[in-house]
């Protein structure tokens, strides 16, 4: 531990920032198409390019932005959308709790500014970095800034193009949400227990959606999944590395 701290002192050079940028670089090719898709679908829902840019830069959480878009209607159900966003992003609590003790010498200001852009990919790459040495602010910002800029350019461009694309269902793009989320769900797959959690949430969501109007099916499904996880839990030694599976978007 002491050794790690000593290392991190030499860690705040511009090279750390460049290293962060180059570490993220290959992921640009995965993130940009998803951003374009988000922008295009947002345009179909009637969001202006500036509104897309505002959402991307202020919220900056891809998964929850797609959920918000799925719930988007006229008039906008602001509370349902904001609450669903909050629920989808609850995982960040675990991510920041896991990463916080592994940071190098960050000032409190750096922590509270830096964690504004704690997206899944930023978290995952920072955790990976922390396996070797404490994550420096420069490295973190190199990763984070690259993702941030990529996401804004891609979603903004998508929203400009999407307005002239026409009905998304003719290209099967209304299914793109579902396909994306199924992929994300599979990232969380850790065996049979995950299967039980998913079955519980899926069933609860379908039934609630059938009988209760509005977006309550998402909350019902979330609660069912959490209860299933809680019931299945067996006491064993504590380890935060379990959350390594929570990557992508």
């Amino acid at each position: 531990m002491k050794n790690n701290q000593n290392k991190s002192v030499t860690n705040t050079s511009p090279n750390e920032f460049i290293l962060g940028v180059t570490t993220f670089f290959p992921l640009i090719f995965a993130v940009a198409p998803i951003g374009l898709l988000f922008g295009a679908l947002a345009a179909q829902k009637g969001l202006s390019p500036l509104e897309v840019l505002l959402m991307g830069s202020l919220v900056f959480a891809g998964g929850s932005q797609f959920v918000a878009l799925d719930l988007w209607s006229t008039p906008v159900l602001w509370f349902t959308i904001a609450f669903s966003t909050f629920l989808v992003n609850l995982r960040h609590v675990l991510m920041s709790a896991s990463l916080a003790p592994k940071l190098g010498h960050w000032t409190p200001l750096q922590k509270y500014i830096g964690f504004f852009i704690l997206a899944d990919e930023v978290w995952a790459l920072s955790e990976r970095r922390a396996m070797k040495q404490r994550t420096s602010f420069s490295f973190y910002m190199g990763v984070g800034a690259t993702l941030y800029i990529t996401w804004q350019i891609a979603t903004f461009t998508g929203s400009l193009v999407g307005a002239v694309m026409g009905d998304p269902s003719q290209y099967g793009l209304d299914f793109a949400f579902t396909a994306l989320f199924i992929c994300l769900v599979m990232n969380f797959w850790q065996g049979r227990k995950t299967g039980v959690i998913l079955a519980a949430s899926g069933l609860a969501a379908v039934l609630t959606n059938k009988f209760v109007p509005g977006a309550w099916y998402i909350i019902a499904g979330a609660i069912a999944g959490v209860v299933a996880a809680s019931i299945q839990h067996e006491e064993k030694p504590k380890s935060l590395s379990k959350f390594e599976g929570a990557q992508q978007l």
């Binding site: 959308i81 299914f175 069933l203 099916y217």
Partner: protein, 107 residues
């Protein structure tokens, strides 16, 4: 055209700000929580289930209660996601749904 690009509806802006505040709260919560509390194992396991449970809930009506084309495409996407990169798996799901919907129309 320019004014359309830069138009911002007040309710949309309000919604975005509400989304942003909630999201920021979840991101800094760990910084604050780790100072004061240690998660119990069970709480941790329950919280860990939140993201997949929510993602599943969001897609479940579309995936399982819309039609045979959607349910089949969901299964295809899930299987593809085990082996292929995300974008490839998504593409398979989308192509699958388009082909099956067209096929059902033809019948």
């Amino acid at each position: 055209m320019i004014s359309e690009i830069f138009s911002v509806d007040p309710l949309v802006l309000f919604t975005i700000v509400a989304m942003a505040l909630g999201t920021y709260l979840t991101r800094i919560a760990g910084l604050i929580l780790t100072k004061f509390v240690v998660f119990s194992d069970r709480t941790e396991a329950a919280l860990q289930a939140v993201p997949p449970a929510i993602l599943m809930s969001v897609v479940a009506p579309m995936a399982f209660a819309t039609g045979v084309a959607e349910t089949t495409a969901t299964a295809a996407t899930a299987l593809a996601a085990l082996k292929l990169p995300m974008l490839a798996a998504m593409a398979i799901g989308i192509v699958c749904v388009v082909v099956l919907r067209t096929a059902f129309l033809a019948i």
